[in-house]
Symmetry: C2
Subunit: 478 residues, 2 copies
Amino acid sequence: MAGEKKVEQITDMEADFAQWYTDVCLKAELIDYSSVKGMFILRPYGYAIWENIQAYLDRAFKGCGHVNVSMPLLIPEGLLQKEKDHVEGFAPECAWVTFGGSEELSERLCVRPTSETLFCEHWSHILRSWRDLPYLYNQWCSVLRWEKTTRPFLRHREFLWQEGHTLHATAEEAVSETERMLEVYADCCENFLAMPVLRGIKTESEKFAGAERTYALECMMHDRKALQNGTSHYFGDGFTRAFGITFSDRNNQQAYPFQTSWGFTTRTIGGGIMTHGDNSGLVLPPRVAPFQVVVLPVAAHKPGVAEAAQALAGRLTAAGLRVKEDFSDNSPGWKFAEYEMKGVPLRLELGPRDIAAGHCVAVRRDSGEKTALPLENVEQSVQVLLDDIQSALFHKAKENLLSHTYAARTVSEVKAIAGGAGGFIKPMWCGDAACEAAMKEKAGVSSRCLPFAQEKLGDTCAVCGKPADKMVVWGVAY
Amino acid sequence: MAGEKKVEQITDMEADFAQWYTDVCLKAELIDYSSVKGMFILRPYGYAIWENIQAYLDRAFKGCGHVNVSMPLLIPEGLLQKEKDHVEGFAPECAWVTFGGSEELSERLCVRPTSETLFCEHWSHILRSWRDLPYLYNQWCSVLRWEKTTRPFLRHREFLWQEGHTLHATAEEAVSETERMLEVYADCCENFLAMPVLRGIKTESEKFAGAERTYALECMMHDRKALQNGTSHYFGDGFTRAFGITFSDRNNQQAYPFQTSWGFTTRTIGGGIMTHGDNSGLVLPPRVAPFQVVVLPVAAHKPGVAEAAQALAGRLTAAGLRVKEDFSDNSPGWKFAEYEMKGVPLRLELGPRDIAAGHCVAVRRDSGEKTALPLENVEQSVQVLLDDIQSALFHKAKENLLSHTYAARTVSEVKAIAGGAGGFIKPMWCGDAACEAAMKEKAGVSSRCLPFAQEKLGDTCAVCGKPADKMVVWGVAY
């Protein structure tokens, strides 16, 4: 059965990758368009995936001592302007509220594109002493960025995310928080979403507006393009000086605290589609799937079948699994295609012959492999299969990443790889921003990050030929 | 200890109820002001209360079969205008986005004040057949209403809420859904928040803009004012006709479906403060409290005390309770006042003498009552005390509601009660909107609802003297 195409209305990814992606988003009922360009509706099945991600991350944050808060939606223009680099980065893509009811506002308000300025203003009111620190805050919300080009999950004008904002007495503590939260995201990507990541630091030109340093995770999609999936920023005391946030330190001296922020968004759902999906539609890793198992009766009208299927679904639910049952009068073929398209990791079929034999038939979404599972101990054997699917998806994606990561010594080598199969390309770099800009223009790629795991693949800059000791990963990015 | 005032900076409620309320909101660190009027910051302690309410309601909704979705933040003006009564009700208090980046928009977009129009537009795209119904949707988000007068929790320009939106094949099913969800809210108020409610139907003049019928819950505050706490609306097919939403019914005929919506907001936190709070600050029912128990070591420097307190906190946490420990070097007196102000239901003190006696001292926040609890089985005795506090708070609030609910036969009787001790006032009403308007103007009260539990307290209208068979509850409302 593996590879057999069931759902005719999805375009093949080899024929048109972008259309395949849009087809999956719409036909698996993850998303719908609204009447405002770039503002998407997350339908129940798409939102359920986000809820599972939220639950995983929220538990991780609370385990680190973070607490949730709610900040206002709107930022007065004057507040946004307090930190110079920040406003330069964000003002061009803000949506502006200019009227409240029938009254024109004396100062226009932007719908938050991110909330550093709001947190800083609040902290300036409440911070007194080193005893109050650290502040370890997080907020779940949506933000607006008035993008010109938009795509489901990958680039919305409004997207859902969490934004963590923390404040610390020392720079060391803030840097260590920035790194800790990148690792929390990496854990979520690798162990929950089955998406292998490259951990690294952004170059100056690619860092967050107002940050001193930006850490990021990069994932590789089926089409070998890069997707940034989670960022963590260290701000030093840039904002706290701009906002006049001080505290009295252990020596009773007034001092400026140090700040971080970090965010993870619904774009990761798009990344998951392009990491695991296939020509039959969505493929969801079991840990994040809204339904991990679908139980389908075969010949449900025959005596005992519906009851046996219901009992099976009940047992799996009682064992803590997320189970979908479908007893509708749609044909088994239609149901197979439907739940394949929706990426349910495991299908369990149960017909009169299976019942007689004391088993059900398990069909894996990732490989199409069929196994007869004895009904005795089915809870355990289903869990084993789900764990195996989770692990297989991760390793397949890791293999894709590793086998499409290339060394390169010159701009033309980078360009040839990017224009060919594509992937992560690792030339050496002297550190000069002009060389970065030249590579971007000539090779049609952008710098993804300076990986934590640096390799010495040469000693000269791929652009200028001068001595170089930094390895940068480049790619074509979403 | 009961009634002794520990926290001097909170105004007495008898001296100035409004100032007492604001003091509690700010000094218990529930909320802070932002730089935009009416847009409040929910601080960690305030937001934690909301998270507990969210968890309770979300579980209840999912138990009823509702699924969560995410709709856009912005509504095009033309979409808002599709249902005539709805736009009349909401347009005057909308905030309008007129610029995206540097570009003026061709159609202005309002920040959602509520999302009926967005759900209807989406449904018009996806609905085909009676097999698709019912749609049982919910969304957790914030909405904006550009109010002139604002107060923490009670009236925000931006507030957090959930909005449920459902679509049904028949009017009967939609009405029954409207009533079911009111009952879910009533359960949350009474059994989780310990706030007794009056269930009823709003008069025509007080119903939601565009609704055919609005059900509501009314609570009574310490100052005998009414607080509306949860509403549920039945729309008939008004919106679905306006939006052209049709489906093919069981007889293969095109038909218009029937709609409901229902909402519950952060204003309930303000209601809880004014239902349970006292002159020492917040009083939280154990089920919703971020911390149910605070464990405080007394003479923590003496050998074994800190360890014993930590062990006690650990045992209670392991038993599933939400426990705060405070081992800071603040004085016991300061800590007592701090956690009283924050409304932690139960304080457990543990000093050298307690340890020697094999007990800890439990102090109830609601009554100040002290009990020595043997450390053996302390998990069970703490749970018994918490259950008793939860129940005592409910019954005290119920007593307040019942003892300030009055029959009245004339406008001047209503006015005298409202201008005196205040409370719920129950005159009879003929059903004429003119009589309702006259009562409002002359007695300074607004109609709260037509209670489900109607009483025949007379047979003439308190305003016009004509025959009347409806009992309306009136009051001064937040």
